[in-house]
């Protein structure tokens, strides 16, 4: 039944996205061009990949608000490495490793030291922004080889994004590990008494999330041809959480899907674009997105109620 609600939700999201795109293609010149749609997908990719990461964390009942900050930190560190060594392959792996390592710290604190996820990742966010700013002295790290931006751009990014979505989607829904997360999010006590390796599984969700932040860092750095601390602006975490919640990931844990997260991320970026096209000022953009989050939470709450009382 849970999956039925999930797939209904995905259909609704797809319809909403198509509706908005249709309206825009009639009202905005060249909106429906392949080029522009491709641009949108490239924009979605970093937020989308981080949304996948947070989906794993949230399904098991946690939250990770440090993702954009981890993304920025892994970017500035790895970008300086690449600028110095010109080694794109090693540098790209470094993005992932730094992200994964920072995630491991989050995961250890939450799963093994029993600290509260919100507090742990809030601290991690501050620490990471500190590291990223100190590392770069507030400047941007440039001087990257041109190839880096060429490799991680346009079609490659889109293919990678969709590929990752499919892989993660199968991993979450059909692997043993993925199922553990649903069990844990549903009732951690039962999961423990059933003999599941709860600590290890929870810890690993934060590693996955950190890893995703690293991937997002690669894309962002390639698009900007440089890395800087301000890449990890706080507003992104709102986009990420909103995308996840709109996509049907429950804030209370226990339900969600990668397809939902994928569609949620697309929707949130399109909304960003629409607000941009309409020339809405930044102040109001924040206000509107805040309202969307509250609306999404309300829908989440209503869905939970429906879920409990439906026939």
């Amino acid at each position: 039944m849970a999956s039925k609600i999930q797939s209904n939700l995905s259909i609704i999201l797809i319809l909403v996205i198509i509706f908005i795109l249709a309206v825009l293609s009639f009202t905005v010149n060249n909106f429906a061009s392949i080029n522009n749609l491709q641009n949108i997908l490239v924009q979605v990719a970093p937020i989308g990949i981080m949304t996948f990461g947070i989906t794993f964390v949230m399904i098991s009942g946690g939250i990770d608000i440090s993702l954009p900050a981890i993304m920025a930190t892994s970017s500035v560190i790895s970008a300086s490495f690449i600028a110095k060594t010109n080694n794109i392959l090693l540098g790209s792996i470094m993005f992932l490793l730094v992200g994964g390592f920072l995630g491991l710290i989050n995961g250890t604190a939450v799963a093994y030291l029993k600290m509260v996820p919100l507090v742990v990742t809030l601290s991690m966010m501050t620490v990471c922004m500190g590291i990223a700013t100190a590392w770069t002295d507030g400047q941007s790290v440039g001087g990257l080889p041109e190839d880096f931006s060429l490799i991680f751009s346009g079609t490659t990014v889109i293919i990678a994004f969709i590929g990752i979505a499919i892989l993660f989607g199968i991993f979450l829904k059909n692997s043993e590990y993925g199922r553990w997360l649903f069990y844990i999010g549903n009732n951690e006590n039962t999961a423990i008494a059933s003999g599941l390796p709860v600590k290890r599984a929870v810890c690993f969700t934060y590693v996955i999330a950190g890893f995703c932040a690293g991937m997002a860092g690669i894309i962002n750095t390639a698009v900007l041809s440089s890395a800087r601390a301000s890449m990890g602006a706080d507003s992104q975490i709102l986009d990420i959480v909103t995308a996840a919640v709109i996509g049907g990931v429950s804030v209370k844990g226990g339900s969600g899907s990668i397809l939902g997260a994928f569609l949620g991320a697309i929707l949130i970026i399109i909304i960003n674009n629409v607000l941009n096209l309409l020339g809405v000022s930044d102040y109001y953009t924040g206000l509107i997105k805040g309202l969307i989050i509250i609306l999404a939470m309300g829908i989440d709450a209503a869905r939970t109620r429906l879920f409990h009382f439906e026939s």
């Binding site: 039944m1 199922r179 006590n189 999961a191 008494a193 003999g195 026939s311």
Partner: protein, 503 residues
């Protein structure tokens, strides 16, 4: 009031999607009457109680209190009408103190000053102590509910219902988590209440309890009244016939003697508080009972063996062929199953379908193809097979566990371990909240599996149950193993003697 309180229920009907939970139920009761309500799981007892408690609205029918038609549209109305509902599952605020829980419904009354939201904790404590003393239990009213044993929590729940000054008291399986002593106190109290103008509904699966305290018994079956009568005029067999619609099959399973081979040995096990220096062993195919009062450390003993509670010292050894080897909890877990005491707390994933609950304990088995993915079709088949073994009168394996009746939930919580083919099953209160039919089924299943070589460690508060099931019983008191009774020595007297007199 002078004419006495009366309650009449006329032609109550209620259907939920897919089930007609109540079809035309009429019952009447008058003050001073204790009415036993009995029926198998899913017969409609809970629905009826929920209607009286204002939790569920009936589709049609009337409820008359003192001859007046009353519409009980929510729990608050029920409370105003004097209906107090003591539920089987503990529903308390864990992080509040005992006294706060008892008076939670009307904290305003306990303000120290009329217009300031400060509570007069002293007078609250006094009154809470009075109420608990009525029940004959001495819980510290300032302690947190989360620190209490389940039985004590149940007493707090009863005290809360009493504090609301109920006139119509609904007890839903109140004794399922009480110790013998607490149970007797409760019965004494119910006897006392009887004299004071109240109507008591008493739901239980224990016919003995019904005969002990009730005046009249109403048997529900399939949402209708199957039979009723005064307890003097009705026999146990008749009640069972009303409940099931047929005679119970007393299939006494043939039991092989347990093997001599040991599968488990516990040496000098010590936990943080309990257990204290416990040693015992378990043979293949043996059913070992752990008997002790609530709070004696019997659950902690099992949890420490399994590594769920911290072990301070001692050793656990396991062996499949009689050769015992020291084993750590992770590895031990591969060979065992553990039915926990609280099925909602840590026994089930309520918001997940039956099949996912069942396969949760042994997912590895369903990782089949080369990509290491789960085979959902096989999972569902295995689940279907598991639930057919325990006669879950559900339905499809896709149903959410939350939607099942308590007894069926319990069966799911037990049967999920079967797919793992465990060598040892630890069962904490295996038949809690299960009707007589299902209870016999579960007990037969235990015998059957034991003769196939599965060993059992069973904790039960029901003395008859643990006597009937066990080959051997160890007695736990304050975390220590104080007595061990072999087949020949198992008797009520011996068990009671082991714990009473020590208290």
């Amino acid at each position: 009031m002078e004419n006495g309180l009366t309650l009449e229920i006329h032609n109550l009907k209620k259907s939920f999607p897919g089930v007609q939970a109540l079809k035309d139920v009429s019952i009447s009761a008058r003050d001073g009457e204790i009415l036993g309500l009995i029926g198998v799981n899913g017969a409609g007892k809970s629905t009826l109680m929920n209607i009286l408690g204002g939790v569920v609205i009936p589709d049609s029918g009337e409820i008359l209190i003192n001859g007046e038609i009353k519409r009980i549209k929510d729990p608050a109305t029920a409370e105003k009408l004097g209906v107090a509902f003591i539920q089987q599952e503990i529903q308390l605020f864990e992080n509040l103190t005992v006294q706060e829980n008892i008076f939670i419904a009307n904290l305003k009354k306990w303000r120290a000053f009329k217009n300031f939201p400060f509570l007069n904790l002293k007078s609250m404590a006094g009154e809470a102590n009075n109420l608990l003393a009525l029940l004959g239990c001495d819980i510290d009213v300032h302690s947190m509910v989360s620190d209490l044993a389940v039985g004590e929590q149940q007493m707090v729940q009863i005290a809360r219902a009493l504090s609301q000054g109920g006139k119509i008291l609904l007890f839903d399986e109140p004794t399922s988590s009480l110790t013998l002593k607490e149970k007797q106190n409760l019965f004494k109290l119910i006897g006392k209440l009887k004299g004071s103008n109240v109507i008591i509904f008493y739901i239980s699966h224990h016919l003995d309890e019904i005969f002990e305290i009730c005046d009249r018994v109403v048997v529900l079956r399939d949402g209708g009244v199957a039979g009723e009568g005064r307890v003097e005029d009705i026999s146990k067999d008749e009640i069972i016939r009303f409940m099931l619609g047929h005679e119970i099959e007393q299939s006494i399973e043939y039991r092989k003697q347990p093997h001599q081979k040991k599968v488990l040995e516990v040496r000098n096990l010590c936990g943080e508080r309990y257990p204290k220096d416990v040693s015992f062993s378990l043979a293949k195919g043996e059913v070992l009972g752990i008997w002790g009062l609530l709070g004696s450390g019997r659950t902690e003993l099992v949890r420490t063996i399994l590594g769920l509670d911290k072990k301070k010292s001692g050793e656990v050894l396991f062996g499949e062929n009689g050769e015992l080897q020291s084993i750590n909890p992770q590895n031990l877990y591969k060979h065992i199953g553990y039915l926990t005491e609280g099925r909602h707390f840590d026994g089930l994933f309520l918001n997940m379908p039956i099949w996912q609950n069942i396969t949760s304990v042994f997912l590895k088995k369903f990782v089949t193809n080369k990509f290491k993915l789960l085979n959902e079709r096989e999972e569902k088949q295995a689940a279907k097979h598991s639930i057919s073994q325990v006669n879950v009168s559900a339905v499809s394996e896709n149903m959410l566990v939350r939607k099942l009746s308590g007894g069926n939930q319990q069966k799911i919580a037990i049967s999920k371990w079967f797919i793992k083919k465990p060598k040892i099953l630890f069962l904490d209160e295996p038949t809690k909240g299960v009707d007589v039919g299902a209870k016999a089924e579960i007990q037969n299943l235990i015998f059957k599996m034991a003769s196939e070589g599965v060993s059992f460690i069973i904790i039960s508060s029901e003395i008859e149950e643990i006597m009937g099931l066990s080959d051997r019983i160890i007695v736990i008191h304050q975390g220590e193993l104080v007595n061990e009774l072999g087949t020949m020595q198992i008797s009520k007297e011996n068990l009671m003697k082991s714990v009473i007199g020590r208290n």
